[in-house]
Amino acid sequence: MIQFTYAKPTSQKAAIDALRKDSNAKIIAGGTNLVDLMKRGVTAPTRLIDINGLPLKNISAYKGGITIGSLALNSDVSEHALVLANTPLLSLALKAGASPQLRNMATVGGNMMQRTRCPYFYDTSLPCNKREPGTGCSALEGYNRMHAIFGHSDKCIAVHPSDMCIALVALDANVIAEGPKGIRKIKFQDFHRLPGEAPEKDNTLQKDELIVAVEIPDSPFKKHVHYLKIRDRTSYAFALVSVAAALQLEGNTIKNARLAMGGVAHKPWRLSAAEKALIGKPANEATFAAAASIGMDGAKGFKYNQFKVQMGRNAIIDALKTAANKA
């Protein structure tokens, strides 16, 4: 790992100032992804700003929802009474991610800011537009089994690796960011971006902004929820495909629905059209299959990940069935 300087500010303002002053400074919270990237030479900040001294760990209720501080640990969030009672889908998604040790280190903000696990992004001897803009995408013609089937561009076909973010996008969360000009609220759906012509940008957070919290508005999705993660081993692996499904049922009729997928795009992938197709219909396999077909419409795989199209369809149906059957 290359040398860097280290600072531990005690206020948000000081952290933001430090970011603004040094264009090659980076925030460190849990470090579970950044330290890894630094060891491999994928990123080389000259200054680390450790924000663990900031009071951003609280999980609390507000009128209309819950707020989770950006430094709250993934393990703490997943087992917090407010989260379990109000947004059980988030708890399920968090528990599907990483390992218990990593969840004890990883923070909510860090989870959102983690980089793709595309092997070409990590291999500094090969071209990668995300790592070095303009060098090309090695995954396009490479071993692209783990890659995107939605929203990709000819510059990048990497996927966002988070599970937590899939639940947050489904739950219409908001990201609270603080910058030199004050606080800004970003819709979770607009936080991460598609690669387009600039895959080096994972999200819309500005260089001098700090994520301070995530707000999750109250929703009726407290019971019929499921997070289905399909991976190469039972636990502790990134998703090939994952589905966050939430239903509000009245009798057997679907009153409201949320669907999002992970492992399929450069950002957490919300399936709005499929959600609309579920509303007002009976909660049965035919409804779920029809929604899944709509959800997978436009999916386009590459040489080694074509299987994700069928797998995605099946996963949506399965996740919806499990969610509907939850007692």
Binding site: T5, Y6, T32, V35, M105, Y236
Partner: protein
Amino acid sequence: MADEKKHSCQHESRRDFLKQSTLLSALAITPAAMLKAAESGWDEGIASAIEKMPLKIEVNGKVHALSVEPRVTLLDLLREQLHLTGTKKGCDLGQCGACTVHVDGRRVNSCLTLAIMQNGKKVTTIEGMAKGEQLHPMQEAFIKHDGFQCGYCTPGQIMSAVACIREGHANTEADIREYMSGNICRCGAYSNIIAAITDVKNGGKQI
């Protein structure tokens, strides 16, 4: 006098020898590196970057006042500076769990956190589990159930296993498998590891 010298030589470990030879190599290469830094106009940056920072950390009940470079991971601090080599470096990328230790009572991958970030924290490593000659119940259970073959992942497995029970995640075999998934065993001793954890859990001892 001669006897005393002989005595100390006998006790010079391979580790001390390696440390001395590394120091000699470092002396040999440092000037050139510094020269290059100066030529590149990095001198000020490098000088401030390599400045060591004070670190106060409690490890296995002993408080250490140390001085570390910011880039030193907790794992490297434990192994290289404190010579607590029970904590293993497996992948060094947070994928295997061999480096698992407890920080303020919670299990973490020591390879993915910087030592400087643990200022003021309490760390427990595998060396801190036994009470004198009395092994920790989890260590005894791993021996009883043959919970290892090569033993390289074992310190991490044991640290994780103890945390798994303390967290309340060892109630069923499925639970144990899920909550021990961050510790990879390439010998495949998983079923015996689960037996050891179940035994300790059912034993009901305070761990």
